[in-house]
Symmetry: C2
Subunit: 317 residues, 2 copies
């Protein structure tokens, strides 16, 4: 199939593009390289079926041009910089909500009929039911990033109904692994590289979320896309268990071969305003369909620490 991957030079997008190519699809990556990097696309460039388009989703003509002739869109582009998302109140709105509207409207115009979307468990806000199933309500996200993901889901549902665009929504747990550009593991490796004796941990360190390895994340997305057939398909995409921020710190320290690191907590139950401190996802819907993550959250974090320590420290040196 001819597939356009928005944000395809980013963390999950580059892993996904590589997998889609390995499975025989043709892939066009559409990315503005604001968060992603062409170096993440080295494995993709081995394939003749791969193409890269430098472009901005806020330019409607550019996305329409790039999309024309494809059969499916995997839309992964979004703001991934939480800090900037807090400083600029319109950042998630522009890079998430408006960009997604533009993708959907380009699909309407160009006649592309399949959309796979990376949503997030943040749409649940701070749910009263954990593990949280897909049918949970009410949906009151506490971050601008969460508000954007919820807005995108609503747009996808309306476009699916009105313009015959079949869609697959995956509500991600924390995703970790190679090509990571943000999040606790990346943050901790960078901090420890600068000062191996001391590590600042945001919040009280007890925030805990399921961490899914990116290799399983892209596998789960492709499996769900191939095996569900409703007009709007939606799944939690996570794994068993959850890993606390303190535990992630310990995995990073171990992967770097350090010891006697002084952990300093910034305090408070949240890592930052808008952070959901406890996440547990009920993934029964996707497992009933036949897919489960093989790695536990701790196993995924341990592997991601090794991958990212190599990747980030090689590039820093």
């Amino acid at each position: 199939m001819r597939i356009l991957v928005t944000g395809g030079a980013g963390f999950v997008g580059s892993n996904l593009s590589e997998r889609l190519l390995q499975e025989g699809h043709s892939v066009t990556v559409f990315d503005d390289l604001s968060a992603g990097s062409v170096k993440f696309l080295r494995a993709c460039e081995e394939f003749e079926r791969f193409r890269f388009v430098l472009g901005d989703l806020l330019e409607q003509a550019a996305i329409e041009d790039a999309m024309s002739g494809h059969e499916a869109v995997f839309h992964l582009a979004a703001n991934s910089d939480i800090e900037q998302g807090r400083l600029q109140s319109d950042r998630d709105f522009r890079l998430g909500t408006i960009a997604t509207f533009n993708v959907l409207d380009a699909m309407r115009v160009t006649g592309v009929r399949q959309l796979v979307f990376s949503s997030s468990s943040v749409i649940y806000g701070e749910p009263s039911v954990m593990p949280t199933p897909e049918a949970y309500g009410p949906l009151f996200p506490i971050s601008l990033y969460g508000a954007s993901k919820l807005a995108c889901e609503g747009l996808i549902s309306a476009f699916a109904h009105n313009y015959a665009i079949q869609s697959w929504i995956f509500r991600f747990a924390n995703i970790c692994g190679k090509h990571g550009t943000h999040g606790a593991i990346v943050d901790f490796i960078r901090k420890l590289h600068a000062d191996p004796t001391r590590l600042e941990v945001l919040g009280d360190g007890r925030q805990a979320k399921p961490n899914l390895h990116v290799s399983e994340c892209v596998g789960g997305m492709i499996y769900g896309w191939e095996h569900s057939h409703d007009q709007v398909n939606y799944f939690n995409l996570g794994c068993d268990g959850a890993t606390s921020t303190d535990a992630i710190a310990a995995f990073v320290i171990e992967a770097l071969g350090l010891s006697d690191v002084k952990i300093v907590h910034t305090g408070g139950a949240r890592g930052w305003p808008g952070d959901v401190s406890q996440v547990r996802l009920d993934c029964a819907k996707l497992s009933t369909l036949g897919w489960v993550a093989k790695m536990t959250s701790d196993q995924a974090v341990a592997r991601a620490c090794r991958e990212l320590a190599t990747e980030l420290l090689d590039q820093d040196d």
Copy 2:
């Protein structure tokens, strides 16, 4: 209190502004008059505490200027033209979602800390539970209007959490009554005025929704705003029962004193693509707080037919 009402020259907005003035508040109406009319503000103009600002919510500077110095915002502006919302795929997105982002961001900048918002039962899409309670999930709206209302709720929740904006969300049933500008009653009166022998009814006529009279709608909003104190307060706002489109046609025919009108159905379960054909709202949350609609859905429709027949036919002649 000094209150800004966006869309205050529109259907619900003009009724609300009048009530807020009667209750002693100062009211500034901000409206672009695209759907509303200054003639709906005649009763408001009797009050010295009333002011009208002609302005567009897509112009961020204009809404910030108008908002400054107010203590609360009742945000009612939205696209109310369903037909145009279908023809222009970005209409609800611009006039609903982007406009609401601008209102919230103006509140952040100007320090206004209370927002009351007119959401809609359309956020529930086609729910599997009826009557539908506020905690229902999942939320997959089937219209672009519904997608916009859901996006607005998410934005409100995120701004409430991050910028200390307390908010009250009311998910409206069908609202009917004086100053109505759209919907089945207005549509039927206009059609029968043009041809009193024949009435085209969209769908199969069996679509049925609770109809709340606008006088009760604004009363319920003000009651909920005054009596609930969470950071994000949210309520279904409707009434007992539901009135079918065929029954609305019969009420209109009676109000106009007509007989022997030939009813012609366009067919299909929906009035239009994206129309939710059956709506029943569980309003226990607001009734537990002490407010219930006094009129049934049928009583509200009958009264609205009399009001609108007078209003619309006087203006047509």
